[in-house]
Symmetry: C2
Subunit: 202 residues, 2 copies
Amino acid sequence: MKFFQAGDYNEVCHGLLERETTQRRTGRAVDNSDTGFLLSALYARRIGHCIHAPVVAEINRAGGDAAIGRTLDWLVRRDPSALEPSLGKEPAVAFNLAILNALIGTPWLPDLTGHVLMIEEVSEPLYRIDRMLFQMAHATQLKGIAGIRLGRVNDILPNDPPFAESVQQIIERWCREMGVPFLGPADIGHDVENKVVPFGRV
Amino acid sequence: MKFFQAGDYNEVCHGLLERETTQRRTGRAVDNSDTGFLLSALYARRIGHCIHAPVVAEINRAGGDAAIGRTLDWLVRRDPSALEPSLGKEPAVAFNLAILNALIGTPWLPDLTGHVLMIEEVSEPLYRIDRMLFQMAHATQLKGIAGIRLGRVNDILPNDPPFAESVQQIIERWCREMGVPFLGPADIGHDVENKVVPFGRV
């Protein structure tokens, strides 16, 4: 099993996607945030069991022990209480929106036909969130997803001039433009309340 | 002729790409920065004459009169001294890197086979520039470009922790990974020295 560390984004820059996806054939990968790159690349090649979940580095945050416990509860005992509660019969994935965006148009984004796509974001101004959702809504590769759920959008940075819409209005508008159902909230985020989302079917 | 305004990004959010590309069949479009979206969409459909160049709003900056004069010199007299000096026999395009990234994977990015791609950026930390170049280097749609030139990367924001490479090292590394020649600097940028780059052949 590999827990990817928060903040090891730089690894991604140096051929890691190629290396990890050619050398790994089994195993479990746990991640969130920047190394969502790796989950995506592994899932695109259907390698191992990928889950979007709290990682070891959470231990440094208040409430981090419960967050990591949730990941372990799922990995060790398949405890359903650790899971994002809307997960059901449709396959799902979860991404930080900026990471999803950076994968669009590359071979490292999985085929997500029929999947529920959950997204979350942190520390971005609304104009950037809007621009990222433009790309998601117009991405040729994402045609055919089953729906979108919005996780927490934490620590929104000031927008100058002020943005005319709320996050909720923005996501609903882009889902309409995309022609994909907005399915409501997802219990994921860049925080210790982040729930486990196994990529694919539970 | 339409001069798009700096900062009219919000227009792009509301179906403008669809509207502009279905209603316009001729004319000239001048832009840089955020509404590079529109230049890209128009050029993707080979509508009109698109140029990446200083826009009217530059008049508010010191030296802005010369910048706008350069755009007019090209539009009115086809004065070659207004042009980005490396422009030659190969077709070219110029983009703000963040805007190029947001177009990747969508139908609004033109076929750039055989083109020199010029990019510039402003007010981003190095980790984001690196992440944007990851997407450029791995973009399926950009296979087959003739080469990359780097315009000015102005007002780089602090990176915490410090990034281990310079902008020059970052761009050269990604060009190697992409298998595309790095052709050197481009005389474009988010500044009044920005030179004119007509999309396609001069």
